[in-house]
């Protein structure tokens, strides 16, 4: 590494448009997420924040433009979608849910031996869920479930971590504990991108911010991005879905 000039890129957006049907939810996004950066994505509801993470996670193909991921041997993406999409009535113990984080190593058939079990124990300890191993996931509270999902993320050992509103409806103590894990990932030079609503948390923990309201409004140092005039522009976003919109000329 030769100083600041060679900061590598983890994710590059190349005139990216993502959406549903032909209607854009993220419109003409251009820019780079540096490797090892800690970035918050903020904006009003319907601004395309979740859509952007889906795109990066590969769950949604771009309508236009491209998402480039740095391709290294250790590039692995871990994606935590909004919690509601998990079937909590499934009869599964917490331990098994967390152990699934080892998928990239164990895969379909790989064994889970003493070394793996120790990793699972460590992950459970890191999120404060020791003693919950045999509890069915249906009995967890919202905060405990989020802790379990963070334990699974820990085991995924990914170089890029995408979090979609990880602290929504989570109490202060749990949020603080989980933010410690986010900081730990940052210290380990992993790239973290998180969709958040609490600007106070963003200012306190996230050095970089992308403010988006379908169109990108501002992107860079958090303090500069979260200025009142930018937030006002974001709030004026047209939320209406126009069924007769014309084809985009840009």
């Amino acid at each position: 590494m030769s100083g600041m000039a060679k900061i590598s890129t983890a994710i590059r957006f190349d005139d990216l448009t993502l959406g549903y049907g032909r209607h854009p939810a993220v419109h003409h996004l251009e820019g780079e997420v540096p490797a090892g950066s800690l970035t918050a994505v903020v904006g009003p509801n319907g601004a395309g924040k979740s859509t952007l993470l889906k795109g990066v996670a590969g769950a949604l193909a771009p309508l236009d433009g491209r998402i480039e991921l740095s391709t290294g041997p250790k590039t692995r993406i871990a994606y935590l979608p909004q919690a509601a999409e998990l079937d909590r009535s499934f009869p599964l113990p917490v331990y098994d849910l967390v152990a699934m984080g080892l998928w990239s190593r164990a895969g379909l058939f790989g064994g889970v031996g003493a070394k793996e079990r120790q990793k699972i124990e460590e992950a459970l300890a890191a999120v404060g869920l020791i003693g919950f191993e045999r509890r069915p996931i249906g009995t967890l509270s919202g905060g405990q479930m989020q802790r379990a999902l963070f334990a699974r993320l820990l085991l995924q050992d990914a170089s890029v971590i995408l979090l979609d509103e990880p602290f929504t409806a989570i109490d202060a103590k749990t949020t603080a504990d989980l933010l410690d894990i986010v900081r730990r990932w940052h210290a380990e030079a992993r790239t973290v991108v998180a969709v958040l609503h609490d600007l106070e948390t963003v200012r306190r923990v996230f050095p970089q911010t992308l403010l988006i309201a379908r169109e990108p409004i501002a992107w860079g140092d958090t303090a500069a991005v979260l200025k009142p005039e930018n937030l006002l522009r974001a709030r004026r976003m047209v939320e209406a879905h126009d069924p007769h919109a014309h084809a985009c000329a840009a």
Partner: protein
């Protein structure tokens, strides 16, 4: 009547009872775990729909070759797979959901099947196809049932992780692996295979019974999917054995007797099961300290 006469003698004395027992155990062992996954994927009624979908294939085999095991089995697997795949494709590429498109396809299949059977056969043949002949299983049928049970259990073991993960957290599975889609297809294949097997013994209409009733019962006893699978198999095997004994002693038709016993096990589980059984809910018990 001593216990030997009650429980052992019918099997010891009559070969057709022994064959029925072996066939029933083979079906129960494999179909019940498949049923557990159907239930957990909220596809409990899919088994029923698929069972009807098998009929025209089996009927075609019957038209071509009479009551021939290979022809009817092959036809059944073909028709079942065709309906499963078509329903899946319609759900994926049109606005219709999978349950609605499956309902449409299986109703067409059922009508087609009954029409085909009645083109050539008598009412006896139709009854045979609809309700099976568990007391007349020959060597070929037993080998088929055993083979299906083996293939099913081995495949379920191999696919266990993606099967569970696709139910719990499909988005996570998609983010770490592409196994989800193929797993779903192979699983539907197992459903078809087990229904075709069960169809030999219990007929199209009752084959689903040994698949879903033990599975639904097991949910009342455990909140851990691995335990549920073992329990469902156990309940299924016990239902097959007890149902045959019931039919022997009470002179009832064997297939329905097996399913009735499985149904009794379900009602008993619903009443007494440790996980949400009615008795435990109704019992006035003081809440715990922590």
């Amino acid at each position: 009547m001593n216990p030997y006469d009650l429980l052992i003698a019918p099997f010891a004395e009559f070969e057709f009872m022994r064959r029925a027992l072996v066939g029933g155990v083979a079906i129960a062992l494999a179909a019940a775990p498949v049923g557990v996954f159907l239930m957990l994927r909220r596809m409990s009624l899919t088994g029923d729909a698929m069972a009807h979908a098998i009929l025209p294939g089996a009927a075609l085999g019957y038209l071509v070759a009479g009551l021939s095991l290979p022809a009817m089995t092959f036809g059944g697997i073909l028709a079942g797979s065709l309906v499963a795949i078509s329903a899946g494709l319609v759900a994926r590429f049109t606005a219709l959901k999978e349950d609605a498109s499956l309902a449409a396809f299986y109703l067409i299949s059922l009508a087609l099947g009954v029409t085909l059977v009645s083109l050539k056969g008598s009412n006896v043949d139709l009854l045979h196809v609809l309700f099976g002949t568990v007391l007349a299983l020959d060597d070929a049928a037993l080998i088929l049932l055993a083979a299906i049970a083996t293939v099913t259990l081995v495949t379920l073991a191999l696919l266990y992780r993606p099967l569970v993960l696709e139910c719990v957290d499909p988005i996570f599975l998609r983010s770490v692996s592409r196994a989800g889609g193929p797993t779903h297809l192979v699983f539907l294949g197992l459903v078809v295979l087990n229904l075709v097997g069960g169809f030999q013994a219990l007929g199209t209409l009752l084959a689903v019974g040994l698949m879903m009733l033990p599975a639904a019962s097991s949910r009342f006893w455990s909140a851990d999917v691995t335990v549920m699978i073992a329990m469902a198999s156990g309940i299924g095997v016990a239902s097959a054995a007890c149902g045959l004994l019931l039919s022997y002693h009470a002179e009832l038709p064997a297939g329905p007797a097996i399913i009735l016993v499985a149904g009794g096990a379900y009602l008993l589980s619903m009443a007494l099961g440790r996980e949400g059984g009615l008795v435990w809910l109704a019992l006035p018990r003081k809440h715990l300290e922590a």
